[in-house]
Every structure is written in C-alpha cells, then in structure tokens.
Amino acid sequence: MNAWLAHHWHSLRIAAQRFLDTPLATLFTVLVIGVAVALPTGLYLLLENLDQAAGGVKPQAEITLFLKAEVSEADGKALSSTLSKQVDVAGVRFVSKSDGVHKLESAGLADIAAGLAENPLPHTLIVTPKDTDPGALEALGTRLQSQKGVERVVMDSEWIKRLSALMALGQDLVFTLSAMLGLALAAITANTIRLQIYAQKDEIEVARLIGATDRFIRRPFLYFGAIQGLAGGAAGWLLVAVGHQAISGSVAKVVAAYGADFVISGLAPNDLAMLLGLSAALGWLGAYFAVGQALRSSESF
C-alpha cells in the first residue's frame, strides 16, 4: 500500500516535471484546450442568463376565460373559487362586467365605452397557472375550456412555446458543441501524449524489459493527461470569466435602456467544479487511449 502510494506520488512528480521541462509547448496546448472548453461554456452561460432574464417574465403567463353571457356574477365568483382550489392553478382573478368597462375607460377607451348602449362584456376569469411549461399550459387550457359556463379560453402561450423551443435548441447546441469539443480535448491530449511517448521510448522499452507492468508505464502519462486537461479547463474558465467581464458593462447598458433589473451571472461553483472535473477526465481518457495504443503497437512478444 505504501509502495503503491509512493509510486502514485512518483508518477505525479514525473508528470509535473514533464510540464516544467516544456513550458512553452505546454502553455500552447493548455491554451488550445482552454479555447475548446470556453466555447461551450460561454454558450452555456449565455443560455443560463437568457433563461434567468426570461424567468422574470414567465410567471405572467395567464389564461383568460370569457364566461357565457347568461352566467351571473355570483356563479362566476363561485367558479373562480372552485378553480383557485385546483392543484395546477396559482391564482384566479374575477373581473366582472362592470370592472371590464372600467378597465376600458382607464385604458383610454372611454369614448368607445360611453358609446355602447349596454355593457357587451362578459364576466371574465384570469387564471394564473402554476406551471408555465407549454405542455402543462395546453392541458390546463383544454380542461378549462370544458368547464361549464366557459365561452372561450384565450391563452397567451405562443411566445412561451417559442421561447421554450429556442431554449431547447440552445441546450442541444451546448450539448453538441460540448461533445465535439470534448472529443477535441481528448484528441489534443492524445496527441501530446503520443509525442511524449516518442520522447520516452527508451525508458518505456527498458522498463518493460525489466518487468514493468502496463499500468506502471501508463500511470505518469495518465497523470499528465489529467493535469493538462485540468489546466485547460481552468484556462477555459478564465477565458469565460474575462469575456464575462468584458461584456457585463454593455449588458448593463442594454438592461438599463429597457428599464429592467438584471445582472449577468458568472459560472456557479458547482458548474465550475463540473467543468474542471470533466476536462481532467477527458484528458485522462485521451492519455489512456494514446498510451494503450502505443503499448500494443510496441509489443513484440
């Protein structure tokens, strides 16, 4: 156990030493990995922020129920309280005929309201759903339509559907980009490891001849791959942080121009941990394949 730990420690030191031996090459590789990592991470952050910005608007999604003309105010209020008890309904507001006219008047349409012989407006219920997911909205809308006394249901859910579809598209984009650039990260690592294996050819051959296992030979390279991936991930995070800093000023101006209150957020600690962990794992994986391939092809026995 002690020897095992000692060897891990030794492998780690060898890997670190190899970094220090070729600082410039290492720096460039880390930068390339950093850019590869920064692209999907930046896009992810953009989406997160969009989602957050949109989140402030979403709860305003409402379903308007126009009641039939023959429904009395009392029946309308009763329906309102029944609906408000349903699990997927956050709240119901009852707007009576006369309230409706007042609203028209206060909206600057007093002339029109005054020109009407009698109040043509029906009683109206405005339902705020709990769940703004398009599917859930649709289901709720259909159910409300079948309620007794309901003339027509107007749902303002089209824009939610569009936004949600766009978000899904963005998420797919992040996923695809991450997968492709993750592959690139592993490939870049595999390539640097291949060069290293070439440089360490003699050592590998001798170690093998005197009884080194594949694992023993592989270990320093795996550490190197993982450290390089980790460093690349950190570089990617740094690039994203710099980008974040660079655009936050102009974002603040745009936000201010719209009179909104919104600050773009950086990468959350758990996202950062995942980013670093994933980069390290991909580096390790690239190294594993490169060394495995080299070990197989150099085997004469």
């Binding site: 060897h7 030794h10 001849l209 009884g211 296992t213 023993f216 026995f301």
Partner: protein
C-alpha cells in the same frame, strides 16, 4: 530450471534463427552460448527471457511455459530474470543510482531498503563511487558493469547476458567475468553468450555451441 524442447524460431520474412533446438539447463549452472554471429545466440536468450515467443516447440522456465504465457503475466515473469544487454539499454537522462533503482521501483520497492540494495549492487560491480554520475560519462566497461548492477539488484535466480564482454578490452572483460563467477558461486544460474573462446577456457562452465541456428554436439 530451463528446458527447450524442439524449439524453432522463424522471423517474419522466413529467416529461421533457431531450428529444432532442445536443451536443458539445470539450476545453478554456468552456461556459455557460443557460435558465429547470427548463429542464434541472442534469439535463444530472448526466448528464455520471454522477450520473444518460439514459432514451434516449448520453452519452459521455472516450470512456466514461456511461449503460452499471457501478456499480463509477462512482467512478473521477467522480474525473476536479470537481463544484460549487449547495447546496455541504460537510461541516459538519470543518474547511475537511478538506473539501478528502476527495477526495484518497478517492483514497488522504495526508500531506504531500496537504496541499500542499489548501493550493494553498485559495490559489487565497483561503481559505488559513481552513483551520482550520468551513465554517458562512464567508459564502455563501466556502462556494461552498470547494466550488470541493474540486472542483479533484484537478486534474480537467473541471469541472461548477451555478449557482455564484446567491445571490451581484456582487463575489463576479465573484471566482468569475475563478477559473473562470483554470482555463479552463490548459486545463480547464468547463461552468457559470447564469441570469445578463450574466456570459456579460462572460466570453465558448460559450453553450448550454435551454428546456423542448430545445436552443435
């Protein structure tokens, strides 16, 4: 300890390095493999050391069938054998001490125990004072002795040496042979290939002669 039965080794391209060789080497024997260059001496050593597999026939070392050995078992088999190469195969990017430490390190031995063993091995070949030097600064004979130190540091019961005295002047060659003799006296089995007949006359031991891949009577 070592048994070859009807062993033939054919390399890709059709060259037959060994043809139908049968040979038994007992534990503790000192065996010289002789023959012209290209007679198959190195091939025979490689087959015993599990560096290559026989094309046909069986090679058995310590009761293990070398030709059928699975890849993961190979490193552990090789740890019981001290290999001395004609071209030394030293690592020039580290000190004499670290070169000898490598086999112990591979076997998971570290710290003071390992350092003691390394110094004991270096002492045996007379290189103790050069432990901090780089192998490239050593003479040919010293490099060969360093290779021997690395081969014996893990105290193998079997040492295989491929032309250990080639390209060395007589005094160095004698030094190295004396070292081998000392191992022989403590019970190590030694198989040494050489084309130096005089050496064999001087040191005795058993002579196994090869010519064109065949054993000569």
């Amino acid at each position: 300890m070592i048994e070859l039965a009807g062993v033939t080794k054919r390399y890709p391209g059709g060259h037959e390095a060994l043809s139908d060789v049968s040979l038994v080497i007992e534990q503790g024997e000192l065996v010289f493999l002789t023959g012209h260059s290209g007679a198959g001496k190195s091939t025979l050593l490689k087959l015993i050391g599990a560096l290559e597999r026989p094309t046909t026939g069986h090679v058995t070392v310590n009761g293990q069938n070398v030709g059928r050995m699975k890849r993961p078992a190979l490193p552990f088999f090789r740890r019981n054998i001290g290999l001395i190469f004609q071209d030394h195969k030293l690592l020039y990017d580290r000190s004499v001490f670290d070169n000898v430490l490598l086999p112990l390190h591979i076997q998971g031995m570290t710290g003071n125990d390992a350092a003691k063993r390394v110094r004991a091995a270096l002492d045996k070949v007379g290189l103790l004072k050069k432990e901090k030097s780089r192998p490239i600064t050593l003479s040919g004979g010293e490099q060969q002795r360093l290779c021997i130190a690395r081969a014996i540091v893990s105290r193998p019961a079997l040492v295989l040496a491929d032309e250990p005295t080639a390209n060395l002047d007589d005094a160095y060659a004698r030094d190295i042979m004396d070292t081998f003799r000392a191992f022989h006296e403590v019970g190590v089995t030694l198989v040494i290939s050489t084309h130096d007949q005089e050496l064999i006359h001087r040191y005795g031991g058993r002579n196994v002669q090869l010519a064109y891949g065949k054993l000569q009577a």
